[in-house]
């Protein structure tokens, strides 16, 4: 049987949920970051599937958006991981539970 | 707030592809930079100096081949000169010229290995080494023609040389002298202006003249730092007084200058050998012994042994690695009372830590290559 837009949206939703779980539940800072990257991926998948199926004057705008999302997520990942290393140097741990003060 | 990184100790261990034998260098690294380097030696210690005290003077000659096994001829020469100085033996002219020619041929062969292994440490996959071994083979063939051995030659005797050179030796040397300078030109094209060799060795492991003299470094390392000191001109021995040649001197004392000095010395050696071949006098190759210095061992019929008068003597020569000296104390018996070797490799190694701290692991390997040590001579 043929694969429609709903199938891709369901896969995107599940991926987003797993990403959200990872981001919220993981103790390690890098674990949280992995969750965020997964959520970015889920959103990208939904963009691409809409641009493939949905009715629109220039359908490839979805892809342009995905390119921007990828750029932003790369920049964000770089900065976040720099923060992680810095945090490690100051607090000697990067488990999210112990970093609960705004200034120390 | 510095990055807490534990020092990272790396063992360039006794068994390692580029430590020129069993020699261990323990490097403490911070990332790529070397923080501390200390050497662990003695893996090849055969206590030659103690063994020599139970053997007669002539039996000790083979020991001198096995200390610096890459330049055995110069090892023989230094020991034999020390004993001759002790006994006051007059060596005939032809023997002196033969000794000079053989020593210079040995210097060329030893520098072939030094430069080849240095290029190999820089990462050139054995190509330069193979070319230089080809030329070293030619010289070893000459040695085989002269004294039957290629590496541990045992060619020289106290008072002269073991036997005269065969008639076809001189034509073979002449043919070689036409061919070898072209080889040295080939090495210069291959290595001298090679971008990567220059990049890997300029400014690496630099020794100022003062530091070099302070560490009593000798040989190509000292001359690369700019000090024009060569035992062959400073204290001429054998026939070096009658031969004219130049001393090759570098200016910056870095790894590149040592390589350049060795290359120039190879040309000078060929020049000396050429003059030796022209001015080789005829005559005996061994002094006729008489008098006090030669007495029979035990019963009068037994083998004759050299019995130098009591006293001490120190003789030094310019070996390919530096000033090689033999200090012998005699108590009138056929065996030396004390037999000490001043080995240039051992002393040239002392500034290794000074040179390699601050550089990277790759630099340490190249610096060790440029010092050109022979572990047999280092550990004795």
């Amino acid at each position: 049987m043929s694969v429609g837009l709903e199938h891709y949206l369901v896969v995107g939703a599940v991926l987003f949920a797993v990403g959200l779980y990872l981001a919220l539940a993981k103790r390690n800072f890098v674990g949280v970051l992995m969750g965020i990257e997964l959520m970015f991926n889920a959103v990208n998948l939904t963009f691409v599937s809409f641009s493939r199926f949905a009715e629109s004057p220039n359908p490839l705008d979805g892809h342009v958006f995905v390119i921007f999302v990828i750029t932003v997520s790369a920049a964000e990942a770089a900065t976040a991981l720099a923060l992680a290393v810095l945090l490690y140097r100051v607090k000697d741990t990067i488990s999210v539970d112990e970093i609960d003060m705004l200034r120390w | 707030m510095t990055l807490q990184t534990e020092p990272f100790v790396v063992n360039i261990g006794p068994q390692h592809p580029s430590t020129h034998g069993v020699f261990r260098l323990r490097l403490t690294l911070d990332g790529e930079r070397i923080v501390d380097a200390d050497m662990v030696m003695g893996y090849l210690h055969r206590s030659m100096e103690k063994l020599a005290e139970e053997r007669t003077y002539t039996q000790n000659i083979p020991f001198t081949d096995r200390t610096d096994y890459i330049a055995a001829m110069t090892g023989n020469l230094a020991y034999v000169m020390a004993v001759e100085k002790l006994c006051g033996i007059e060596v005939p002219d032809r023997a002196l010229w033969l000794r000079t020619m053989m020593a210079e041929l040995q210097r060329f062969a030893s520098h072939c290995i030094a430069i080849g292994i240095f290029a190999n440490d820089c990462g050139a996959w054995q190509t330069p080494v193979m070319h230089m071994f080809r030329d070293r083979e030619k010289i070893l063939d000459l040695f085989e023609m002269a004294c039957g051995a290629r590496l541990t030659l045992n060619y020289m005797r106290i008072g002269g040389v073991s036997r005269d050179i065969p008639p076809e030796f001189i034509p073979a040397v002449r043919k070689l002298l036409k061919d070898l300078p072209k080889r040295v030109d080939e090495y210069e094209d291959l290595l001298l202006s090679n971008e990567i060799i220059v990049a890997r060795s300029r400014g690496v492991g630099a020794l100022t003249p003062e530091q070099a003299i302070a560490h009593s470094v000798s040989g190509p390392m000292l001359r690369a730092s700019g000090v024009a000191w060569d035992v062959r001109t400073a204290d001429p021995y054998a026939a070096y007084g009658k031969v004219d040649f130049d001393i090759a001197v570098g200016t910056n004392g870095d790894v590149y200058d040592r390589f350049v000095v060795r290359l120039a010395e190879m040309r000078q050696s060929l020049r000396i050998v050429e003059q030796c071949v022209e001015m080789m006098p005829a005559g005996p190759v061994h002094a006729a012994f008489a008098g006090a210095s030669v007495q029979p061992i035990g019963n009068p019929v037994g083998p004759l042994a050299i019995r130098p008068p009591e006293g001490e003597a120190y003789a030094r020569i310019e070996s390919p690695r530096g000033e090689l000296g033999f200090y012998i104390v005699s108590d009138g018996s056929p065996a030396p009372f004390r037999f000490h070797i001043r080995s240039p490799s051992f002393i040239n190694l002392t500034p290794l830590k000074l040179m390699s701290v601050g550089g990277t692991v790759a630099d340490a390997i190249v610096i060790l290559g440029s010092v050109d040590i022979v572990v047999g001579e280092v550990d004795r």
Binding site: - | F8, V10, H16, P17, S18, E32, A119, N120, D121, C122, G123, A124, W125, T127, M130, H131, R134, L190, L192, S193, N194, I196, I197, V198, A199, R200, R202, G203, A206, T208, P209, R223, G226, V227, A228, W229, D230, T233, A234, D246, I247, A248, V249, G250, T251, N252, G253, D254, D257, V260, L263, A264, Q268, G358, G359, T360, V361, A362, D363, I365
Partner: protein
């Protein structure tokens, strides 16, 4: 329809076979799957056999360069030497170091091996002989090459050995900085041709009957050097620099695991050479010769010919230090390739907008690019202080006076 036995293009034979299957009434997806399977098996067979052949060729050629003979004991003229090596590796026991990360240790060689095979998919070996004709071919090559970075790390990290980790870190630093230069070098080609499909690139070179190496000398230079880093062969074999850390990230691997690494290194070499041949040297075309000589024969000829330069590099050049390599990438190659992309962009704009017809434009651009290449390489090198006294070669001073001290300009530690 040319006959199936017309071997100028193996595509004909495969096409005839597929029609045969279709005649037997198989459902329509069977020929499609059969075609891809034949393609995959073809590439794998070719890859494995040419790696074996090249192990022997390389050892003989480097041997000749070093005036020695090279392997000639096993089999006639040593031809069975690679087979013997392969069998030895198969029989050797692949030990896993204690408390190493077992899964990653097992995954390492596979992950390093996969990209080097997948890279051959979009490369056209002959007229229709391309496994996957992607119209993002060039970008696909770079993307697959970037997976290698992670794979090398996994191999180095999981073998729980100091030397391996140091080697892995060095290799990753190298791969990342030279990846950017690869992208910029390939960008020049895409700008000229206007499409990323490798088939179009070869078509463009055929129509204008000029090889892109003529138009893009700087890009070829950058790509060859970046390629040497990608497959970490000399003069960039920092990863397994024997004289320093023993064998880099594949120190702990024995047996067939090391065989994978060894194979992957050669395949990376073939992949880089295939990309250079397809993009810069006109792929399977040789100015019309491909009517008579089969296209894939020309392609393989060029590929093996060009691979010889990497063997030649290995035979002669010493190795660069890791920090020199990094400085060379960021301070020398990157600015040059950016300038090159700038120049090519403006040239293409001039050519398309001003409507120059290509008979005049191509030679003009070739001359401009050639002059630009020489000027920028020499200019930038002197700007970086390459011809400063500290970097140039010199000879020893010859003197007679003993004891004199010669002070050179102080050689500061770099």
């Amino acid at each position: 329809m040319t006959e199936w036995y017309d071997f100028r293009d193996i595509g004909n034979a495969v096409g005839a076979l597929l029609d045969q299957i279709r005649d037997w009434g198989a459902p329509d997806w069977v020929p499609y799957v059969a075609a891809t399977l034949i393609g995959i098996v073809g590439i794998l067979l070719w890859a494995v056999l040419s790696v074996l052949a090249f192990i022997w060729i390389e050892r003989r050629v480097v041997g000749l360069m070093q005036n020695r003979i090279g392997p000639n004991r096993v089999g006639p003229q040593g031809l069975l030497q690679p087979v013997a090596d392969a069998i030895k590796l198969l029989l050797k026991e692949a030990i896993t170091t204690t408390n190493a990360d077992r899964y990653m240790f097992w995954l390492g060689p596979i992950l390093v091996f996969i990209p080097t095979i997948v890279v051959f998919a979009p490369i056209p070996f002959g007229e229709e002989m391309v496994l996957a004709d992607l119209n993002v071919g060039v970008l696909f090559l770079i993307a697959i090459a970037s997976i290698n970075t992670l794979a090398v790390f996994i191999a180095g990290w999981s073998s729980n050995n100091k030397y391996a980790l140091l080697g892995a870190m060095r290799t990753i630093a190298m791969l990342i900085s030279y990846e950017i230069i690869q992208v910029l070098a390939l960008l020049g080609v895409v700008l000229f041709v206007g499409s990323m499909r490798l088939g179009d690139i070869i078509g463009w070179q055929l129509d204008h009957d000029v090889w892109l190496i003529v138009l893009q000398p700087v890009a070829v230079l950058c790509y060859i050097i970046a390629g040497a880093v990608e497959m970490n062969r000399s003069p960039m074999d920092i990863a397994e620099a024997e004289s320093e850390i023993v064998a880099g990230y594949h120190t702990e691997y024995g047996g067939i695991k090391f065989g994978f690494f060894y194979q992957a290194e050669y395949l990376a070499g073939f992949a880089i050479t295939a990309v250079v041949v397809t993009l810069y040297l006109g792929g399977y075309t040789l100015f019309g010769l491909e009517q008579w000589v089969p296209g894939w024969l020309i392609f393989l000829g060029k590929l093996y010919g060009f691979f010889f330069t990497y063997i030649w590099f290995r035979g002669t050049l010493p190795r660069l230090r890791i920090d020199q390599l990094m400085a060379f990438a960021w301070k020398f190659l990157l600015p040059i390739s950016i300038l090159n992309v700038l120049l090519v962009g403006s040239e293409v704009l001039l050519w398309k907008e001003a409507g120059l017809e290509s008979q005049l434009a191509i030679p003009l651009f070739a001359v401009i690019n050639g002059a630009f290449a020489v000027a920028v390489v020499v200019g930038w090198a002197t700007a970086l202080g390459h011809s400063a006294p500290r970097h140039t070669a010199h000879r020893a001073i010859l003197t007679q006076e003993v004891g004199a001290i010669f002070y050179g300009e102080a050689a500061p530690r770099p």
